[in-house]
């Protein structure tokens, strides 16, 4: 109690520090608005009032959550303990940034790069298109409709479409930038169009009547007068892009979304926030900066004010640059693996791409494959991890990824669309020959462990009701709620077959949601029955219980590396190197590594490195 109580004071201080200044700023603007109103400067008064309103909300927004948290803490009976918990999380959050500052910086820069390139390109294309629409008005309806359609396509779906379209650039930054570009187009085109149309017709008529050419009219009159509307469109586009770019992590484009996805998979709120908070700050900063730029180029800004804003912006850029410089100081040189391997005869440009699906086990396996190739062959490896759904497979076919780890059962039923079989060896052999014939992909020897669907319930429920098998649980199922990943709901060896095999029925239709989130939903008691991965570290961390598949419904799924045959032909030494992994990863190895990453929050690279050095000896 005592040490916890001492957190109370700092937390109150934080509240006061956060919401009072915002409130004061609001009051300052409100007073200014009144003064201007009295002075008859209505436009400026409205501007100040708008700012006062925004800051008012900022103040409420900062104050309200803290007040609610405080209330919840008091009502929980152990206020000090609750507050201490919050403070501890805040400290953990802070120390995460300190410990990972280089990675945070580089992800933030990747994020910024995606957004800057995409919205920059959208501005370069969108503004002229918007201008064109004002000259060819009949085009405006169809063009705006098309831009509108782009914006309504969900981002993940758009990424999915782009993969086969772009061929060898189907994953990574290129499709992410293209998608963000398409999303940014609409607000920019629309605002350019309406901004120019909004120019006072008398001004336009005067300009033409005095003998301005169309070009002079556009450059000297229409664009300057429409500028604030155009920049407003740019601001909207940028803020949307910063948000959407987080989803781009799903196709290997990097950026702050990596933390969000990783946090979702690992049941780690701090990681989610580590992605979300900088992204939100970036959106705010971008919006603010563009607002400043608008001020600088606005014709009514006095020269002195313009100078001030420019100085302010320069100072901001300098501070940011200095901060980045300091953070990057002491960054270890990129270790070129090709130089570590003595006597390897690999051309320096040799490079392969290793992919992974979007969950922890796959990150670890991808890392193990990548490090094995790097250390044994000296070929440099690009990592394209965190590819959701069947993106890995599609990326392999498109030639974007050279190798990843697949599970025989998934390949057999989900990709090859065969009826499920329970004979593991038969499944594997069939997959191997089909992959070779149909996809020109080589399936290497199994890695050793098999991963299958694990039917999970909460540990305390299992103990209380003494449940051991799925058959045991089937009796209680009619009172339970279930949730499954999209994959499990739709595939042939998933829920439909399971329900038939065990005569399962639930209180309502099982909810279909993100796999990682089903773990949270189960642990939080929102559902009672999920299907996870048998090797998942979260099972232990969250105190879940894996029910035995007593009717042997799930076939064992063996994990094996899949490679493009042309890559193997180019680099035969890779097959040689990866042979060392065959049969080396046991079920318990895999579970242990998953636990190390998921529960102990250890670095994936480090965990993989330790494993590799252990099997070497």
């Amino acid at each position: 109690m005592k040490p916890a109580r001492s957190y109370l004071l700092p937390s109150i201080l934080v509240t006061l520090l956060c919401c009072w200044p915002a409130g004061i700023v609001a009051i300052v603007y409100a007073t200014r608005a009144r003064k201007r109103w009295q002075a008859g400067e209505y436009g400026r008064a409205a501007e100040a009032a708008e700012r006062a309103r925004i800051w008012c909300w900022v103040s409420v927004g900062l104050g309200l959550p803290v007040a609610l948290l405080g209330l919840a803490a008091v009502m929980s009976g152990d206020p000090a303990g609750q507050v201490a918990g919050v403070v501890r999380d805040v400290i953990r959050f802070g120390s995460f940034f300190v410990a990972n500052r280089r990675e945070v910086t580089s992800l933030a820069l990747q994020h910024l790069l995606l957004v800057a390139v995409a919205t920059g390109a959208a501005a370069i294309v969108g503004v002229p298109v918007g201008v064109l629409l004002t000259r060819q008005r009949w085009l405006s309806k169809p063009v705006l409709a098309v831009a509108n359609i782009f914006q309504t396509v969900p981002s993940l779906a758009l990424f999915g479409f782009l993969i086969p379209l772009l061929g060898s650039h189907g994953i990574g930054r290129v499709p992410a930038i293209i998608a963000l570009f398409l999303y940014s187009l609409l607000p920019i085109i629309r605002n350019t169009f309406t901004g120019i149309l909004g120019v006072d017709p008398a001004v336009r008529e005067a300009a033409r009547g005095m003998g301005m050419t169309d070009w002079q009219l556009l450059i000297q009159v229409e664009l300057p007068l429409a500028m604030s509307v155009i920049i407003a469109g740019l601001r909207v586009a940028t803020v949307i892009s910063v948000g959407t770019a987080t989803i781009a992590a799903a196709i290997g484009a990097g950026g702050l979304g990596m933390y969000i996805f990783r946090g979702l998979r690992m049941y780690d709120n701090i990681l989610i926030l580590a992605g979300a908070v900088p992204a939100a700050l970036m959106a705010l900063a971008a919006d603010f900066t563009l607002g400043l730029i608008e001020k600088v180029i606005a014709p009514e800004t006095s020269r002195r004010k313009r100078l001030w804003v420019l100085v302010l912006m320069a100072a901001g850029v300098l501070i940011l640059g200095a901060a980045l410089f300091v953070i990057s100081l002491g960054r270890p040189d990129d270790q070129r693996p090709s130089q570590d391997v003595a006597g390897s005869e690999v051309s320096p440009g040799a490079r392969v791409v290793v992919g992974s699906k979007d969950f922890t086990e796959q990150f670890i396996l991808g890392e193990i494959v990548a490090q094995t190739i790097e250390t044994k062959t000296g070929i440099s490896v690009e990592r394209q991890f965190n590819l959701g759904g069947d993106l890995c497979h599609r990326a392999m076919l498109a030639g974007n990824v050279d190798a990843y780890v697949e599970y025989s059962g998934t390949a057999f039923t989900a990709i090859l669309k065969h009826q499920p079989l329970s004979d593991a060896r038969a499944v594997f052999d069939q997959v191997r020959s089909d992959y070779g014939e149909r996809f020109n992909l080589e399936v290497l020897e199994p890695l050793g462990f098999s991963s299958t669907f694990a039917i999970l319930i909460r540990g305390d429920v299992a103990r209380r009701l003494n449940l051991k098998t799925i058959s045991d649980a089937a009796r209680y199922a009619p009172e339970w709620h279930a949730a499954f990943g999209q994959d499990f709901m739709s595939r042939q060896d998933g829920y439909p077959g399971l329900a038939k095999a065990y005569d399962l029925s639930f209180a309502d239709v099982p909810r279909e949601m993100d796999l990682a989130l089903t773990y949270r939903a189960l642990a939080d008691g929102q559902v009672d029955f999920i299907a996870g991965n048998s090797t998942d570290g979260l099972i232990e961390k969250l105190d879940l219980y894996q029910l035995e598949d007593d009717r042997h419904y799930f076939p064992p799924y063996e994990a094996a590396i899949v490679m493009r045959k042309d890559t193997l032909a180019r680099f035969p030494q890779i097959a040689e190197a990866l042979k060392a992994l065959a049969g080396k990863i046991t079920d318990s190895d895999m579970r242990r590594m998953n636990y190390a990453v998921d529960a102990e929050h250890r670095d994936v690279k480090q965990v993989a490195r330790e494993f590799l050095s252990a099997i070497k000896h």
Binding site: V203, M210, G211, P224
Partner: protein, 256 residues
């Protein structure tokens, strides 16, 4: 650069030859207009709203082109003029002034001289001269923005801008329409003095018969897209045309 009156006092600067303009559905906006405007005169086009006077004005600087007939400016049909060149020889003032809100008064006035690439020094000189001419102190007003001016001041700047490149012809579309009566009267008086001094050919559109009588050397009365009366103010006042009578009646007992 004030032009001296030449012997051709009655030389036609603008001439309409049987000009008609049809709207997209074939309804005539103006039909069969034939008249001339001679050098140095102020022709006032008078009429109700929608009677075709503004359209006629825009036919002169080719903001509109006739469906049939010819508009001849300085001896050449407008269709043969380069539209940009033509417009830069014609000053243009409209009711809402059309001042560029993002330009200072000085830049607004300098617009056409800048487009014509006059030397900087000459432009500055011209701005000072014109502001003084329209009764605004250059030291006070040159660096202001239009929104910092009163309606009357804005119209003065509008006139100065139209005069900037010293065009021989000036078109004015209800330039004083939006002003309060006192300011309007003041500007009308100054404008009359100004035109007397500058010897410009002016086509002036208004629906205010009092303004027409005050400023015009001739009045052209429009009705339904046609020119009903074209005569000097004195003869206009005596004309039996019913539209002219209606306009004069609207003055009440205020005139003559």
């Amino acid at each position: 650069m004030v032009q001296t009156p030449q012997d051709g006092e009655s030389e036609a600067v603008v001439e309409f030859r049987d000009v008609s303009l049809l709207a997209s559905r074939g309804r005539p906006i103006v039909s069969q207009l034939s008249f001339t405007v001679t050098r140095g005169e102020t022709l006032v086009l008078l009429g109700r709203s929608g009677s075709g006077k503004t359209t006629t004005l825009k036919l002169v600087n080719r903001l509109l082109e006739p469906t049939s007939g010819e508009v001849i400016v300085e001896g050449r049909p407008t269709s043969e003029w380069d539209a940009i060149r033509l417009r830069r020889r014609i000053g243009y003032v409209i009711q809402e002034t059309g001042l560029f809100p993002h330009f200072t008064v000085a830049r607004n006035i300098a617009l056409v001289p800048k487009l014509e690439r006059w030397p900087e020094e000459q432009i500055r000189e011209r701005i000072r001269g014109l502001l003084a001419l329209v009764g605004l102190d250059p030291g006070v007003f040159a660096s202001r923005y239009p929104r910092e001016l009163s309606g009357g001041q804005r119209q003065r700047v509008g006139v100065a801008r139209a005069l900037a490149a010293d065009p021989p012809i000036i078109l004015m579309d209800e330039p004083f329409g939006a002003l309060d009566p006192l300011t309007r009267a003041e500007l009308q008086r100054e404008f009359a003095e100004l035109t007397a001094r500058l010897n410009k050919t002016i086509v002036f559109v208004t629906h205010d018969v009092r303004e027409a009588l005050k400023l015009a050397s001739r009045i052209g009365l429009f009705r339904d897209g046609r020119l009903a009366v074209l005569d000097t103010p004195a003869k206009f006042a005596r004309s039996g045309d019913e539209e002219a009578v209606a306009f004069l009646d609207s003055l009440g007992g205020a005139t003559e």
